[in-house]
Symmetry: C2
Subunit: 333 residues, 2 copies
Amino acid sequence: MAQVRDVAARAGVSPATVSNALNHPSKVSPETLTRIQAAIDELGYVRNDAARQLRAGTNRAIGMIVLDVANPFFTDVARGVEDVLLDQQRPLILGNSAQQPSRETNYLDLFEQQRMDGVLITPVGDVLDRLRRLRDRGTSVVLVDRMTRVKEFSSVALDDKMGGRIAVQHLLDTGRRRIAFVGGPASLAQVKSRLSAARRAVEQHGGAELTFVETETMNAGAGRTAVEQLLALPRAQRPDAVFAANDLVALGALQALTLAGLSVPDDIAIIGYDDIDFAASAAIPLSSVRQPAHEMGSVAATTLLGVIADPGSSTVQHVTLKPQLVVRRSTGG
Amino acid sequence: MAQVRDVAARAGVSPATVSNALNHPSKVSPETLTRIQAAIDELGYVRNDAARQLRAGTNRAIGMIVLDVANPFFTDVARGVEDVLLDQQRPLILGNSAQQPSRETNYLDLFEQQRMDGVLITPVGDVLDRLRRLRDRGTSVVLVDRMTRVKEFSSVALDDKMGGRIAVQHLLDTGRRRIAFVGGPASLAQVKSRLSAARRAVEQHGGAELTFVETETMNAGAGRTAVEQLLALPRAQRPDAVFAANDLVALGALQALTLAGLSVPDDIAIIGYDDIDFAASAAIPLSSVRQPAHEMGSVAATTLLGVIADPGSSTVQHVTLKPQLVVRRSTGG
């Protein structure tokens, strides 16, 4: 396999000039660059990133650990990250913790062994000490969407209180008074914030009430089961609106109502959360609270690249992105 | 930062024994392993994979390029791959070509520079020469779901002809006679195979007919637009069943029919393809042709690890997995 010295010989320059051409092309004249490029093409020379990593002590790749790769919300975040990294010729190593602390630890082990430049993580387990160790060993860390109140790491968060408030305000504005909040578990930070903001909005409105139907997970099956429970109530106690803590739950709720022969939104309105593509393409298009998922990914990646470029800086940056109400047929839009 | 020699000194063994403990633990006695592990924990030693890669000449990571990370089918395939690799402590670098040859080339460049052990690819562009070069430079390649008739690379494919046949046979068995096949572009291998098998099944059945409604892409919007065109036809010319070339198209078709006030399956039946989770959780649960996506991922990963373990072998393995009919409400199930 061709080495730098072979390229140098073929181009009639020194190995140091080839190295400059590869790493600091602005230091090399255009004619020399052209000659070196021709030699690289002829010889089929490929940079050996393992050797460069060893010298630099780190790996250009960025690791990312997401909670659930089956939820399009996280796929959208990852695409936002990827779009920024691809421009920088940095590969993204995507790990799916599937909300399991043991899988999360496996990926952190790998990232530590690979001495990556940076890690983006939506934490599941109690990993703060692990993240501090990573940072102390030269891997920059940015928190995404969870534990974002930790002061020592830069983070990108979403304003879940605002999201809970605007969803409920929209239901109240369209005449709904008995709102069921469906999601869980209640210990999940996102669920807590959205629910408490929803409660406050309902309390500020005389004559409205909010029920919390807690689910174990946040998938369509959970939404379906929760709504089946609500439909078993006497008609007068049924809600007239469902606020689902994510769109998967909302899709399950829509299915349960449709299969029970009820009309959405005439009998019961539904609003979801995240605005994944499947919300707009549901049989009855779903209103939702749009999370700027792709933007969160690109902001997280840009923040991480900033930390990598200046690891000694004491500036820690916390960005909070605002959600947006999207009104569609399922709430009468 | 702690080195192997520091660990060896602390554990009172030779550096070679530490190296054996890390790479071939079965060669080291349990007591020595425990001592070495304790030293590793005390000193906070971390393996330097860049150094190991440099010695080995390759990178333990596996690269994978998928067509569309927004389609849960590919996410399921990637999870199947990831489950196998995680067991082997190999990270997965996931790249999304988004069906753009230029993005595909970017990822192949990165994978080549990183000297990865292996690459899984669902090709978009004309990349056979690139893949040959990768292979000649020590990166094993397995083709997934496309170009699987190329003899020189191992591959994992799905039997699309069988899928097209069983979908149409089911529609015929349940009394449908005017079937619209919705999908495209027609040049896509999967579309070609499913369509030709569907045509053959219809031809073998007297009195049935099949219309091909070609779409530019395979998302929900394309399905919606195609069905709106069909609904603009005089009632007698409308189909009584839609066979959508994937579930995203089927979800769009379901939405168009629902919003037009038609009943699924009473007026028009729908069957999709892939059986993504969103098929089962649609407002009217969708019949579909289940692709063993997760299994395809794990078979592809296992095949690739086999090639990596024995790169000189002349055995090329082609695996074809069979799809399965899943009957739900949208075809009267």
